[in-house]
Amino acid sequence: MPKLHVRVQRQRPDTQARYDHFDVEVPDDANVIDVIEACWRQDQNLMYRHACHHASCGTCAVRVDGKEVLPCIVPLAACKPGDMTIEPLRNFPVVGDLVVDVSAFFQRQAAAGMVITRDAEETIDGHPFEPSELLQPDGKLERRHYNRFENCVECGICLSACPTLSATDGFFGPAGLAAVHRAWEKTTDETERAALLDLADREGGVWQCHGAFECSEACPQDFDPAGAIMDLRRALIRRKVGALFGR
């Protein structure tokens, strides 16, 4: 059982941040979420978010030794031995300790209009999907597409890693713009597509991004928000050029 000295940022909305120290022992194969839980067992006033422990809910995101991670999928073996510093995400208001207020984030996600599921594009062995047969209650079969949850788990890591958000107010943020991009890719309705491009084109939209690509670097789900932002920029340029030539 490895022993670990853990510094955890403690804060309430009306107090200055400070660091509390915990000495914990966790199993060899523990993940960082187990370290946070071991601290909580010593002090149940420690506030942290978690639910699924397999990178699906997206609730547990924090910074470990300065880097944004989902602690539920980071093995202790991947961290430096002996000690660790755990802090809340940046660019979000702190509710308490490691818990940040995700309200504004989810309001933007809702505004972006991406449905969290999609028709699956290919099977696990990389073939295009044939429509599946869904069993109906009367025993008859309905042909329908397999579907998938989107890869983005809405954890907020990309917002915390974003230097544009740290420097400026009003930026829609990488996850939100990636969601706009996904919604834009998914629909064939030209009116909807135009409205989504308008959303990306607004002040605080894709043009405000400094292009640091920190978001894609930090994303635990390989969702590539920066790539999505660049793709939206290209689409907007095409639209503007097209408009110049009356197309």
Binding site: D29, A51, C52, H54, C57, V99, L134
Partner: protein, 386 residues
């Protein structure tokens, strides 16, 4: 006269669905959760939207509840489910013998099913153990537990419910033999306060015994832990189950880019101190490899365990405890008024559990309002934050 006020303790899938049910019936609702919403039993469940197939032979009461709720959730929560069906796969002659009982069980519980030949199954699931002898397809599905609960809470909130996380019940307030409120500790402010109400619903899952204990009340809940091991690659399109009665490591649930192998079952005394036995992780991987051999080649991504709130009955092994649920009216037999508990069940059946609980609560409060959750589409989980 204002509507009666109900406090719900616990915002896992059960408490969240109860909040939605009661708010939709016009009651004033406050739901308190001591941590993040659905951070425990619901959060770390298997994500399986049950078709009922898993219980079609051993626990038909649960199986029928599952298929009924599965079909309702497809209508009221359409955007938050992966609906790719499930396969029950026979690997041995023994499994093949179980198939006859399984099909009879599905028919008895009105669970749609379809038999597939090994070749048909392999065409749909190329990574299945190629030695399979038979497969049966059923309408299993996959959900995301946190978003599942948040959809119920978003809907409850839009109907006026107050939903408070990081708010822990520390005492039941009693007056003349009735429960009249809860004393809570707000972890953000560090202050305790009393929330008065007409009735308290104890939906604290494996902590239901502890919450009831604050009022000297007993709830026969047996916290029973189970482990989930998630691997770093999606191995299956559909849910893959072993065609046998439920046992350890007999199911692999795909979700997004991963697959989740589960589960085991062991009794715990303290649901806050679940230490995962390392041999359970190994066992999950070994059993998973029997169904999908390529699991041997991928990395483990996450491991989690939480306690289920099974209802304790005398002389039963924990696998044989029914997975159905019960509402306890503690006023019965001269007990305590103003306090009901709901326990057992599963996330798939949370709406149905809440309907029964809502019927009991409204009857106790002298109201006659019908449940409307069956046909009311839930809001997106994101709208909780509006």
């Amino acid at each position: 006269m204002p509507a009666p006020h109900v406090v719900i303790v616990g915002a896992g899938s059960t408490g969240s669905a109860c909040a939605h049910d009661l708010a939709l019936r016009g009651l004033r609702v406050t739901v308190v959760e001591r941590g993040e919403f659905s951070n425990a039993t619901t959060g770390r469940n298997h994500c399986l939207l049950h078709s009922g197939g898993r219980y079609a032979v051993t626990d038909q009461e649960s199986a029928i509840e599952c298929i009924d709720e599965n079909l309702i959730l497809r209508k009221i929560m359409p955007d938050a489910l992966e609906l790719n069906d499930g396969l029950f796969v026979a690997l041995t002659e023994e499994d093949l013998a179980f198939k006859i009982k399984f099909i009879a069980g599905c028919a008895a519980c009105h669970i749609p099913y379809r038999e597939l030949t090994p070749a048909q199954a392999l065409a749909r699931e190329p990574l299945l153990n190629p030695k399979l002898l038979a497969a049966v397809q059923v309408p299993d599905g996959v959900f995301e537990p946190w978003r599942f609960s948040m959809a119920f809470l978003a809907s409850a909130r839009s109907n006026g419910a107050v939903c408070r996380s990081y708010t822990e019940v520390v005492e039941l307030v009693r007056h003349n033999g009735s429960v009249t409120g809860v004393k809570v500790l707000d972890r953000v402010t560090g202050k305790t306060e009393t929330i008065g109400c007409d009735l308290v619903v104890n939906a604290a899952g494996p902590w239901a015994g502890e919450v009831a204990g604050f009022g000297g009340i007993e709830v026969p809940v047996q916290p029973t832990a189970g482990i989930m091991v998630t691997v770093g690659r999606r191995m299956n399109n559909m849910v893959v189950n072993r065609l046998d009665k439920p046992s350890d490591g007999d199911i692999v649930v795909p979700q997004r880019t991963t697959s989740i192998i589960g589960t085991t079952s062991w009794t715990v005394t303290d649901p806050d101190a679940i230490d995962i036995p390392p041999q359970h992780i190994q066992k999950m991987l070994e059993k998973g490899i029997e169904l999908l051999p390529e699991i041997a080649t991928v990395t483990t991504r996450g491991v989690g365990a939480a306690a289920r709130p099974l209802i304790k009955r005398a002389r039963q092994d924990e696998r044989d405890v029914s997975r159905t649920f019960e509402c306890f009216d503690h006023a019965r037999d001269g007990g305590v008024e103003g306090f009901v508990s709901i326990s057992g069940g599963k996330t798939t059946t949370a709406r149905g559990m809440a309907e029964k609980l809502g019927d009991l609560v409204t009857r106790k409060l002298g109201l006659s309002v019908e449940c409307r959750t069956r046909n009311t589409p839930l809001l997106s989980y994101r709208l909780f934050y509006q």
